[in-house]
C-alpha cells in the first residue's frame, strides 16, 4: 500500500469539500472493507492522494421512522440493517439483502452507503497492479469482452466515455441489445446486494445536494456506477411506507454461500389479492452494469392469477432480451429460474440438515 493523506472531517459539508478535489485523487472511506483492498492491490492507475474518512461524522448512523417510511443513515452497518426489527418487519427484502452481503465480519464493518456505491466486480478491472488498464478505468478496451466473461453482463455493456458524463443519465445509460456497444463498452456488473433491493423497493437516496430515486441513482456509465458527482456524499437511504401483505424475497445465486458475490440475484416484491397479482416489483442484480428492473415482467404479472405456467412465462420474459457473451450464457437460465421462483414464492435454496440427510 502506498502512503496517502487521511483526513477525518466531522461534518458532511467538510467531507464534501475534500471530495470535490478533481481527478480521482480523492476517495471516500466508510467501512473500508472494499476500498482498502483496492488501495492495497493498487487497482487503479491513479493512486488517491487523500482518503476522506467519513467515520468521524456523527449522526449518520441511524434507523428511524420518517413520513410513513423509514430513513437509514449512510453509515449504518449492514449487520444492523439485517437485524433491525423495523426493517425485518416492513422491508424483509432489504434485511435479506443485507444479510446476503459478504461474511459476518464484513457486514459488521460495511455500511449502507458503501455497499450502494461500491466499485464493480470484474477480475480484469480488479487485477492487482492495474495490469489491465481497461475501459472502465479510461483505457481503450474491455478485456472481459474477449476474455473470460463468465460473471459478466448479459444485458449489454456500458457506453459513455468520460467520468463527467456519469452525471447525465441520458448519455450514460446501458445500451441493451445493441451489439455495437458491446464492442465499445464495459461488461462488469453491478453486484451490490443492497442496490438490487433498494431499486425493487422504490427507495430514494439522499445526498448532501439532492434526493435521487434509486431507479435513477445507478448508471451504466463507462467509469462510474452512480450519478454521484465530485463533492457529493450519500447521507441517507429513504424507504417508502412498507407494503403490508407483500411477499418479499431476495435470492442470491452464488457458488459459495458463506461469502461470495452473486452470479445472479433477484429482488422481488409481490402483492397478491385473492389469487391475482396486484402489485409486482422485480429487479435482477449482477446481470447488467446496473440493477435491472424487469419492467416487462412487472407489467405482465399484473392482474394475473399465480400459476406454475405464469411463473415459467415470467422467467422466460425476464431474459427475452438477454444478450450473453459466450461465457455468460448460463446466467440467462439462472436468471429465468430465479424469476420463476420469485413468482411462485419459493423459498430460496436451504442447506439440508443432518437429520434430513441421515433420514434419506
Amino acid at each position: 500500500m502506498r502512503s496517502f493523506r487521511y483526513v477525518a472531517p466531522t461534518s458532511v459539508a467538510e467531507a464534501a469539500e475534500w471530495l470535490a478535489m478533481p481527478g480521482g485523487k480523492v476517495v471516500a472511506l466508510a467501512g473500508g472493507t472494499d476500498l482498502l483492498g483496492i488501495l492495497k492491490d493498487r487497482v487503479h492507475a491513479v493512486y488517491p492522494e487523500v482518503v476522506v474518512g467519513l467515520k468521524a461524522i456523527t449522526g449518520l448512523d441511524y434507523i428511524r421512522k420518517e413520513s410513513g417510511g423509514l430513513a437509514i443513515g449512510t453509515l449504518t452497518r449492514l449487520s444492523t440493517v439485517a437485524a433491525h426489527p423495523l426493517i425485518r418487519e416492513g422491508y424483509p427484502l432489504l434485511a435479506q439483502a443485507a444479510q446476503a452481503v459478504g461474511s459476518p465480519q464484513l457486514r459488521a464493518m460495511g455500511t449502507v452507503g458503501g455497499n450502494l456505491c461500491q466499485e464493480p466486480r470484474c477480475w480484469y478491472y480488479r487485477s492487482p497492479g492495474n495490469h489491465f488498464f481497461c475501459r472502465r478505468k479510461g483505457g481503450g478496451v474491455c478485456f472481459a469482452l474477449g476474455g473470460d466473461n463468465r460473471f459478466g453482463s448479459i444485458f449489454g455493456a456500458t457506453i459513455g466515455r468520460l467520468q463527467e458524463e456519469a452525471g447525465h443519465k441520458a448519455e450514460a445509460v446501458v445500451q441493451e441489445g445493441d451489439e455495437g456497444h458491446f464492442v465499445q463498452g464495459c461488461v462488469a456488473v453491478s453486484t451490490s446486494d443492497l442496490a438490487t433491493a433498494v431499486v425493487a423497493l422504490g427507495a430514494w437516496i439522499k445526498t448532501n445536494v439532492r434526493l435521487i430515486p434509486a431507479d435513477d441513482f445507478f448508471v451504466g456509465a463507462a467509469m462510474g456506477s452512480t450519478v454521484l458527482r465530485p463533492g457529493e456524499v450519500v447521507e441517507e437511504l429513504r424507504l417508502p411506507p412498507p407494503l403490508p401483505d407483500s411477499v418479499q424475497t431476495y435470492q442470491k445465486f452464488r457458488i459459495r454461500d458463506a461469502i461470495d458475490f452473486a452470479i445472479v440475484s433477484a429482488a422481488s416484491l409481490l402483492r397478491v389479492e385473492g389469487d391475482r397479482v396486484v402489485e409486482a416489483g422485480l429487479v435482477l442484480g449482477s446481470v447488467a452494469p446496473l440493477p435491472r428492473r424487469a419492467k416487462e415482467v412487472e407489467a405482465f404479472l399484473k392482474n394475473q392469477p399465480v400459476t406454475a405456467e405464469l411463473a415459467q412465462e415470467a422467467g422466460a420474459l425476464a431474459v427475452r432480451d438477454a444478450k450473453p457473451r459466450g461465457g455468460s450464457n448460463y446466467k440467462v437460465q439462472i436468471a429465468a429460474e430465479l424469476v420463476r421462483r420469485a413468482v411462485l414464492g419459493c423459498v430460496p435454496h436451504k442447506r439440508k440438515r443432518w437429520e434430513e440427510v441421515r433420514g434419506g
Binding site: G147, D148, I255, D260, G327, Y330, Q333, L338, R340
Partner: protein
C-alpha cells in the same frame, strides 16, 4: 475410497454436496485426531473442491491469473461443508515403521472422481470436466439433443 451423495439443481446447475463417506485402511492409528483431520481434509484443494469449486482462471490473451485471491478462487468454508463420515480400518503393515500407512493423499485422490460420477449418475449425462460449475452442469444438460433440458 470416497462415497459422495449430492443433489443437482437442474434449473440452475447448482451442485450441493450432502454427505461424504471416506473409507481407508491406515495400517495403524497413531494420532486419531490428526487422522480425522486428514480424512476431513479431503475437502481441500486436491479433493472434493477440485471437483466443484476450485479453479485457477487464466486470461487466455495474457496468461495472467485472474483469480489470484481467496474471493474469486473459491475455497470452502466451514459453513459450506457437507456431512463427513470416516470409516477407518487398521491392518498393521509389517514392512512400515509403526505398521502405519500414509493417509493424506489417499483421502484426497478419490474425491473429484467420486463427485463427478455422482453428478453424472444424478443427471444421466457424463460429466468429464471439473470444476463442475453451474455453467458446465447447464451446458451438459442443455446440450443439443439432450432430453433433460427444459424439464422443471
Amino acid at each position: 475410497m470416497s462415497f459422495v451423495e449430492l443433489e443437482v439443481d437442474t434449473n440452475t446447475g447448482r451442485v450441493e454436496l450432502l454427505r461424504v463417506v471416506n473409507a481407508t485402511d491406515v495400517g495403524r492409528i497413531i494420532d486419531p485426531l490428526s487422522l480425522e483431520g486428514q480424512l476431513n481434509g479431503c475437502l481441500g484443494s486436491a479433493g472434493i473442491d477440485g471437483a466443484l469449486w476450485e479453479e485457477t482462471v487464466l486470461d487466455s490473451g495474457t496468461g495472467r491469473i485472474l483469480n489470484s485471491n481467496l474471493l474469486d478462487y473459491k475455497w470452502r468454508t466451514t459453513r459450506d461443508l457437507p456431512i463427513i463420515e470416516n470409516v477407518v480400518l487398521e491392518t498393521p503393515v509389517a514392512s512400515h515403521r509403526f505398521g502405519a500407512l500414509g493417509v493424506g493423499e489417499i483421502s484426497t485422490s478419490p474425491g473429484p472422481a467420486a463427485v463427478l460420477m455422482a453428478a453424472s449418475n444424478a443427471l444421466g449425462v457424463w460429466l468429464r470436466d471439473y470444476p463442475l460449475t453451474p455453467e458446465r452442469v447447464l451446458g451438459a444438460l442443455y446440450r443439443p439433443g439432450s432430453t433433460l433440458g427444459g424439464e422443471t
